[in-house]
């Protein structure tokens, strides 16, 4: 009895942390920017992106659970050392950029709570993050960040209590293309950025490395499926609520989001001071959680490529290179922020380049998910392969279009 209750608890916890962990600084900023400029007319991208990350995470979770091999071990084995190294460098650069954005997000959230200028808190924040990775267990970090991240559900509450004109919002959802005043290219640029925000590669490294660390087996596949099929879509719903709040409050006032203070402003309009405090703490937890995940992902990727011991469950002395990479990643991210660069700008770069880097990891995982050598009888079925191939086309198109669109629209100006 207590065993099954414990199981229900573990499953619920997994789903809740999947929701709370889904949203990071990229989702927060990009959804609010898009909502404040295009209303909900780009909502379809969030839906497509959530589907994509679910397919990707499912396949890589499956490969890990059955073969015991994590993403970058597979990539190296499939692509060979040369191509895999190019892949590693690309993915690492991307994850470092995301890590920088997340640490910046933590600093901005602290500014909203305390008024202290972000540059001043970067180093203390980096130190606390590193100490957490050094000393605190994985499940603690994941659960605390994930559950506190659920405070972001206040965006859903805010949207409901704003009492928007639902039919007008629905009209934005089904309209294709931008409203007057925005060009089609800018619309396309933000479609790619939103897609990149929903499908950040580090989420998948983290997901599959976590599965490897917890020594998942084929018996745990249902857990991966639940997290992916329930947690991610609910996380996507949260993203839409962020866009919805911006669409209802900021769009009519002609405010287009360029800072985190504007992202949370609609919650204040809807719910007052308490709402602002709750949402700021939620942003703090979500960005801190994502900073931990991205820092770990840097360590995971390099260690898996090189064949060094890695993992958060063991004492640091057992995985020294891994911890060196994690520390180095945090140091680099903090140094970038100390130059005074705007974290929101870093975030905008990171979501676009995450769209660029996505095929590097998606494609090898798709190949291996079809290889009986790795997954035995659990190779992708026809339906999953159909969906996964469709996503391959979308991912390639987004990756190719990203940089030209970025230059053409001058970063969505």
């Amino acid at each position: 009895m207590s065993g099954s209750a414990g199981k229900v608890f573990a499953v619920t916890l997994g789903i809740l942390t999947a929701i709370g962990g889904f949203v990071d600084i990229g989702d927060l900023v990009t959804n609010a920017v898009v909502g404040s400029r295009f209303g909900l007319s780009l909502a379809w991208v969030v839906v497509v992106g959530v589907g994509g990350i679910a397919v990707f995470a499912h396949m890589s979770g499956k490969v890990t659970a059955i073969s015991g091999r994590a993403t970058f071990e597979v990539i190296r084995e499939r692509l060979g050392p040369r191509a895999a190294l190019a892949n590693l460098v690309g993915s690492m650069a991307m994850t470092l950029l995301t890590l920088t954005a997340e640490i910046g997000g933590v600093a901005l959230a602290l500014q909203l709570l305390s008024g202290v200028v972000p540059v001043l808190v970067v180093l203390p924040v980096a130190l606390v993050l590193w100490m957490a990775l050094w000393r605190v267990t994985f499940s603690w970090l994941e659960n605390v960040a994930g559950l506190l991240g659920l405070l972001l559900l206040v965006f859903v509450v805010a949207l409901l209590s704003l009492g928007p004109d639902w039919s007008a919002l629905a009209g934005q959802v089904v309209q294709d293309g931008p409203d007057t005043g925005e060009s089609g290219l800018t619309y396309a640029y933000y479609a790619v950025a939103l897609f990149g925000a929903a499908m950040t590669p580090y989420e998948v490294f983290f997901f599959s490395s976590g599965a490897a660390e917890e020594r998942w087996t084929s018996q745990d596949l249902w857990r991966s499926r639940l997290n992916v099929l329930v947690g991610f879509p609910l996380g996507g719903l949260l993203s839409l609520a962020i866009a919805g709040c911006a669409a209802v409050v900021l769009l009519p006032q002609g405010i287009s989001v360029t800072s985190l203070s504007q992202v949370v402003a609609p919650v204040g309009v809807a719910l007052g001071t308490a709402g602002v405090v709750v949402v700021a703490v939620g942003v703090l937890a979500a960005t801190a959680g994502a900073a931990l995940e991205t820092a770990l992902s840097c360590g995971y990727s390099v260690a898996q490529f090189a064949g060094w011991p890695w993992g958060k469950r063991v004492r640091p002395a057992r995985a020294p290179q891994f911890h060196l990479v994690v520390l180095g990643a945090i140091v680099i991210g903090s140094l970038v922020l100390l130059t005074g660069v705007d974290p929101v700008m870093v975030t905008e770069f990171s979501v676009v380049f995450s769209a660029v880097a996505l095929p590097l990891t998606y494609f090898p995982v798709l190949v291996v998910a079809n290889d009986p050598d790795y997954v035995g009888e659990h190779t992708n079925g026809a339906v999953l392969n159909g969906v996964a191939l469709a996503y391959l086309v979308i991912i390639l198109a987004a990756a190719l279009a990203a940089v030209p669109l970025m230059v053409l629209t001058r970063m969505g100006a």
Partner: protein, 125 residues
């Protein structure tokens, strides 16, 4: 179809060195990663006969590929084929990674840096 030679090694499967050996993750007795297969050393027995895999040369692939460092052959980490216990999604060895004595850098990092930072030698709480 030409007669395929018998494959007495391991579980009697046909192994493609390129596909099943090169760049596979190598695991020690306890499942800890020990680099990856960088190269395969093949020996032709003195009295003639079929060439056999003598040892696996292990490497991280970072030093050589990233920095262009060329290791002299004798300093590469070789593991005798007899120590291989299983070929799966990873290659399992009968030795533990400590007794393989690979990775002086890891030892140095562990003893001189990571192990000296407070908490470095304790399990996370």
């Amino acid at each position: 179809m030409p007669d395929m030679p018998a494959h007495p090694e391991q579980d009697g499967r046909l192994i493609d060195a390129n596909l099943h050996l090169l760049d596979r993750a190598v695991l020690d007795r306890d499942g800890w990663p020990v680099l990856a297969v960088a190269d395969v050393e093949i020996e032709v027995p003195e009295g003639g006969g079929r060439p056999v895999v003598a040892s696996l040369l292990l490497g991280s692939g970072l030093a050589t590929r990233f920095f262009g460092i060329h290791r002299p052959r004798r300093s590469r980490y070789g593991v005798a084929w007899s120590r291989v216990t299983r070929l799966g999604s990873g290659i399992s060895l009968s030795a533990s990674r400590d007794e393989l004595g690979v990775l002086w850098f890891e030892r140095w990092l562990r003893d001189r840096v990571v192990g000296r930072i407070p908490g470095g030698r304790h399990d996370p709480r």
